[in-house]
């Protein structure tokens, strides 16, 4: 079918008059994540299984950037209706429930990550539920998630970012946008020795090269 | 003035060098001068020298709050070139270049002006377009220059990585053979000695605390050590401190003073005979006669009078140098320091009259000050002598920032230098 120009009923978009589209193709279409060409899967099979740093690409997720007014109770309520949890309003915090997680990015910006197939549904429901001035942007194709862990994960990160990663300064759940090598990343601590990086697609080959290099002395294990 | 020469050295060695004259006097200032120059850096001293020698104005004082040549003259990386893009800038810098070429003899002080050539590397197609554009303009303006390909560059700088397999391969370069380096301190001292010998009073360790302005006309300066000193004309040549002084005169300037950092390696045996500059990977390097690699870093983005900048600027510069010369990785950085550069929005200087009558400013040289020293002093002297701006100086009026006649040299001035 063609002409899906309007994906949701006219009155619904009235609030923002923004268009939403389901950007996900059917299963018959091959989707290539940013690190597709690094062929991490075969590295996971043939590569070393011991090492101080472990890496896994959590690929093809739905990345949604929400911009809205943290002082607008109605909008906050709408978010809770859609996502089943409240927006983290404290700077540099994140919340997670099931397969949905929300990261504070700036006083009026949050990064919501959902399963890839859920993105359109969540977008649509936002347009249904939320009124007033806000924006919701699908960036799923533009970034990917790297899960980093291991005994030396902090040592590797310290070579790459000036952020203080000491547990007293960077507890589990904290999230920061910062410089990473000569690129940027959103870094979130998911465990004592476990971090999540959200990186930009066009920089991913460079960062993959960097992480391999920075992990060399500890040994890098790739997980599927 | 005692003449300097090899024979003189020999003669003095017989008397154990006990009879050398002072290079300049240490006078107490008079009550009034025809011209007072505020700022005893290279430009100020050159201005005084040419005022006295070429324009016969000898009743001149240079007032310096610290010691002669203690500002950017003492802190720059000594590169001299004149291959600027726009006519106005090219003519001004070429005027300076011609003076450089006879300066040691003119001053009877060896400023060690060494025309070892300057390379500006191009790493992208747009770099090469800009280089072609500039070199063509230089040629037609009478400034020497040519465009070189990587092979020719390799012949001039055999140790540089001119291969294809770098992040930003060198695609070519502009080459000004007459460019080079000079001994920065000697330039200030040579001009000081010359000015002094023509009767100019050099007043050191004396700060100009204010300008004396009577109904819109400057009539003198206030100093911390000698009280008021009167003058018919006042020329301010205080680089990074220009805004501070202009404020005392009641106006603002289109200037921002930024830290500009530089560094030197330990002295090593000669391996680099020319000046190499790259806007794109952002670094430039030459080797001094003492053997140090003299390396210029970028300008820090914030205003600063602290004569130091931020470490990442140093890191990026050193990365650029190692990228161009991988073998320097094991050579060691000895010292780093910073200067204060007063930068204009169009990367060109201000040589100008001001809203205050008989008050003139020479500033805003950004990273281009040292190479212009004789030319800057020469045209400023001419302007102060006549009370009206020299032809070469006219385009550099501070008022161009009102009518919009800017001279955008960011391309040519791309890297801090």
């Amino acid at each position: 079918m063609s002409d899906l120009t309007v994906a949701v009923p006219e009155e619904k978009v009235a609030s923002t008059k923004a268009v939403v589209m389901n950007q996900v193709a059917g299963p018959e279409v091959r989707a290539e994540s940013p690190l597709y060409h690094a062929d991490l899967d075969s590295l996971a099979k043939q590569g070393p299984r011991k090492g101080g740093v472990r890496l896994r690409e959590n690929k093809l997720l739905g990345h949604l950037t929400l911009r809205c007014n943290p002082n607008n109770a109605d909008q906050l309520a709408a978010v809770e209706r859609v996502l089943g949890m409240a927006l983290p309003l404290q700077p540099l915090t994140s919340v997670e429930k099931g397969d949905v997680s929300i990261r504070w990015m700036s006083p009026d910006e949050w990064l919501i990550i959902v399963p890839g197939l859920k993105a359109f549904d969540v977008e649509t429901r936002f347009r249904d539920e939320m009124d007033g001035h806000y924006s919701l942007v699908n960036g799923s194709g533009g970034s990917t998630v790297l899960e980093l862990s291991g005994d030396n994960v902090v040592d590797m990160l310290k070579k790459s970012t000036p952020i203080d990663l000491h547990p007293s300064e960077f507890p589990v759940g904290k999230v920061v946008s910062t410089v990473f090598a000569k690129s940027t990343a959103v870094i979130r601590r998911t465990g004592e020795k476990q971090f999540e990086l959200v990186i930009r697609r066009s920089f991913s080959d460079y960062l993959w090269l960097w992480i391999q290099d920075a992990s060399r002395e500890f040994g890098l294990v790739v997980d599927a | 003035m005692q003449h300097y020469s090899g024979f003189g050295l020999f003669k003095h060695s017989l008397s154990h060098h006990e009879n050398w004259q002072r290079a300049w006097r240490n006078p107490t200032p008079k009550k009034k001068y025809d011209v007072i120059i505020v700022g005893g850096g290279g430009h100020g001293l050159a201005t005084a020298y040419y005022l006295a020698k070429q324009f016969g104005v000898t009743n001149v004082a240079v007032i310096e709050k610290g010691y002669l040549g203690g500002g950017n003259t003492a802190r720059n990386t000594t590169i001299v070139r004149s291959n600027y893009l726009w006519d106005e800038a090219a003519h001004l810098y070429e005027h300076a270049m011609k003076l450089w070429e006879g300066l040691s003899q003119d001053l009877n002080y060896n400023v060690m002006f060494s025309q070892r050539g300057v390379l500006n590397l191009g790493h992208t197609l747009q770099d090469m377009r800009d280089i072609e554009r500039r070199v063509n303009a230089n040629r037609l303006n009478g400034v020497d220059g040519e465009v070189l390909d990587p092979q020719q560059i390799k012949e001039i700088v055999p140790h540089m990585d001119c291969s294809e397999n770098t992040r930003y391969p060198i695609m070519g370069a502009s080459w000004q053979p007459r460019g080079g380096v000079a001994r920065h301190d000697a330039v200030a001292w040579g001009f000081a000695r010359g000015a002094d010998s023509h009767g100019v009073d050099l007043i050191q360790q004396t700060e100009v605390t204010d300008l004396i302005i009577e109904d819109g006309t400057v009539v003198g300066v206030k100093t911390n050590r000698y009280g008021d000193i009167k003058a018919d004309r006042v020329g301010c040549v205080v680089a990074g401190n220009s805004s501070v002084l202009a404020k005392k005169a009641g106006f603002e300037l289109p200037l921002e003073s930024h830290p500009l950092q530089a560094l030197v390696s330990e002295p090593i045996k000669p391996v680099l005979d020319t000046v190499v500059m790259s806007n794109h990977v952002h670094g430039y390097v030459s080797q001094s006669d003492k053997g140090d690699l003299v390396i210029g870093a970028g300008i820090d983005g914030y205003n600063g009078y602290g004569q130091r900048g931020s470490f990442p600027t140093i890191e990026h510069t050193v990365q650029a140098i190692v990228e161009l010369f991988p073998m320097f990785s094991r050579v060691r950085m000895n010292r780093q320091w910073g200067g204060i550069v007063d930068t204009c929005p169009d990367a060109c200087p201000i040589i100008s009259d001001t809203p205050v009558k008989n008050l003139f400013f020479n500033c805003g040289w950004g990273t281009g000050g040292f190479k212009a020293t004789p030319g800057s002093g020469n045209v400023f002297a001419a302007s102060l002598a006549k009370g009206e701006m020299h032809e070469l100086a006219k385009p550099f009026s501070m008022f161009r920032f009102h009518d919009g006649a800017l001279i955008d040299e960011h391309g040519a001035a791309g890297v801090a230098h």
Partner: protein, 99 residues
Amino acid sequence: MFHIYCPHCAEYREEEEFHASGQAHIARPLDPEACSDKEWGEYLYFRKNPRGIHHELWVHAAGCRKFFNITRDTQTYEIKEVYKIGEQPSVVAQSGNSK
């Protein structure tokens, strides 16, 4: 290298995450057409550039992407205060150093 407190992220971050964006509190003339060339030129180019207390605009480029103001001593590089857009500085230079 500066250590800058971001008023939006509410913590100190390294200078590498920020860009300096020049003098703060330069309001765009409300009616540009009414400005003379001189006035427009001064809005565009002429700056205080003080030695000492300076109010400047920075952006947390690699962080929250928000602009904010810093009061900094351009001599010692000491950061006196950090405040959000729309707020006024509490630290100002005596005897018009920064005016």
